[in-house]
Amino acid sequence: MSGVPWGETRLVQGNEAVALGALAAGIDFFAGYPITPSTEVAEILAREMPLVGKKWIQMEDEIASISAIIGASLAGGRSMTATSGPGFSLMQEGIGYACMTEVPLVLVNVMRGGPSTGLPTQVSQGDVMQSRWGTHGDHPAIVIAPSDVEECFRLTVRAFNLAESFRTPVIFMPDEVIGHMREKLTFPMKEEICVTPPSAPDVPIEWYEHYHSSATGVSPMAHFGSGYRFHVTGLTHDTHGFPTRKVDEVVAKMNRLKQKITRRLDVLEDNMLHNVEESKVVVFCYGSVYRSALAAQQILAKRRKKVGIFRPVTLWPFPDRTVKELLDGKEVIIVPELNQGQIIHEVERLTSDNVRVVPMHRYDGYEITPEQIVEAVQEVM
């Protein structure tokens, strides 16, 4: 295969769909380091990108990889890296730097079993909290968890678009099952894909502020070499990018970093709901577990048992308001996760004491099956 097979139907692997999604989004630069189970993303792009004159490099480690994509993004290249567990940990400092300096980039983290080297070839959802709070300090986070191969393609494009329009790193986080699964995928036509164009300042050079405060909290970003000379530092900085310790400037920066996300939750929020309103019991799940939940819902329907499914596609920012609105008041919420309990605490936080929030964990490297969910639902019904 060469390039995105627009309009065609193929049998495609999740990681392959991510790579093709990146090409569809107009990726200019990829830097990465081999790691299971994400390696296919790097391999496919190593083959594809030189063919269209785009830049691809294998760096000496994951720290170098994220550093390189930040540098490339500042120089005007649409950039991505792909990694997994241990590599994701190594990238945390760079993620914080990109948040602080408001650099758009896409980081693909295909989740495998942890901690440490853990279960390199097996599935997990153990990085959910790390994807939110992995780097030090308060910071914004946008994290997307796909559940099928079509989403690996379509939502990778969305990840690039969000990175561009929010000027922040976006973490795209399939679990290993989704990354390695093969499914039929009908690619859209090229003109059906909407790609956010790279931003460019519309002010004279002498008026340019690299971190101008606009209504959305995000301003158009100039690139190195464009004639707009600016300074970028991980130190807390003023609107021109120069280091500051003045309290009003520090607070303004920190507030804007937070508010550029919280003021536009409507753009970021993305949930899939099935029979939530009419069910007393709801399964709250994401990633590969959502597939099992859908299958379980069908099995249960045949047994005349009604269960709802609430699936956040965007994991972070967490859909606080919708969860509170739709789930507070339910009898039981079952939260199956491929970890020892991470997102469940968010659900507990948003529901009152009379809602039973039932955990369901699996952390042995295997997926949660529909039967397990059926069993859990029948236990509470």
């Binding site: 200019d28 760096m59 720290i63 550093s67 390189a68 500042l74 290249g77 600016f230 300074h231 120069f242």
Partner: protein, 280 residues
């Protein structure tokens, strides 16, 4: 003096960002001056230059110069620079780093930037210790030296920046000192003007930390030490081995004019897009 003002205003963010953070007697400002004079004599446009740095005293340099400037995380200047250079090949990328930044936390990146022959000029200001954090030992602290973390003397051998980067494949490797400023201007100019990975190590005093801990005297005394303890290559070749004992040699150690990474990547793209390459 007034006649020199336009010169400074052209290259420095003079109105906004001074005074600088460096201690009295520090050599980093001299290195900055040399870089500016080298750039001026090359006639480079400010818009085309990207100065990238890591963390530390030397890494504060980008804030003062009116180029595209990028102050990154500790040790990663070359990795950030690699991405920027690949994304915009027109940028002339200069990485300024200290000895701790480039040789310890950034050690992995510098050997691989040298191996790839990435088109970046690395200017490494070696003051033999971590100045910003209060004078701890670095990979270039000489054996026996006292620092905040070697109160009984340094027992580890030190890195030779030039030998290391030359062995790793850098196309250009040289060493200068902030005492020998005219020579340094020339070396940096040579280091900037070329392709591939180019390294200039600059010996520089840290009177506040290293000098005080080792009773080397004030800034002037430390400058005199640079004068007395270093020799240039031409001199060194004439000296008998016993007189070279303890001297540090300045000059250009490698100037190989090997093909840089960017040119090799360009060649790869034209090979695979011309259709001559049959892909599986």
């Amino acid at each position: 003096m007034p006649a020199r003002l336009p010169y400074a205003y052209r290259y420095l963010r003079a109105k906004k960002k001074f005074p600088h953070v460096w201690c009295p007697g520090c050599g980093i400002g001299i290195v900055m001056g040399s870089i500016i004079r080298a750039i001026d004599s090359l006639g480079w446009e400010l818009d085309d230059i990207l100065m990238v740095s890591g963390i530390g005293c030397t890494s504060r340099m980008p804030v003062y110069v009116d180029f595209n400037t990028l102050h990154t995380t500790h040790g990663r200047a070359l990795a950030f620079g690699t991405g920027a250079k690949m994304a915009n090949e027109n940028l002339k990328v200069i990485a300024v780093m200290g000895d701790g930044d480039s040789m310890a936390i950034g050690g992995n990146h510098i050997i691989h930037a040298a191996r790839r022959n990435m088109d970046i000029t690395a200017i490494i200001v070696n003051n033999n210790n971590y100045g910003m954090t209060g004078g701890q030992f670095s990979p270039t602290t000489p054996q026996g030296a006292r620092t905040a973390t070697t109160p009984y003397g340094m027992i580890e051998p030190d890195f030779d920046v030039c030998k290391l980067t030359e062995a790793a494949g850098a196309s250009f490797v040289a060493r200068g000192s902030v005492y020998h400023v005219m020579e340094l201007d020339g070396i940096i100019k040579q280091g900037l003007d070329g392709s591939g990975f180019r390294v200039v190590e600059v010996l520089s005093p840290c009177p506040t930390n290293f000098g005080r801990a080792n009773r080397q005297g004030d800034a002037v005394k430390m400058m005199e030490m640079l004068r007395d303890n270093t020799v240039n290559r031409a001199q060194a070749e004439k000296l008998p081995p016993e007189k070279l004992q303890g001297k540090i040699v300045r000059g250009v150690f490698a100037d190989r004019k090997t093909t840089g990474y960017i040119e090799r990547y360009r060649a790869l793209v034209s090979r695979v897009t011309s259709g001559s390459e049959v892909k599986k």
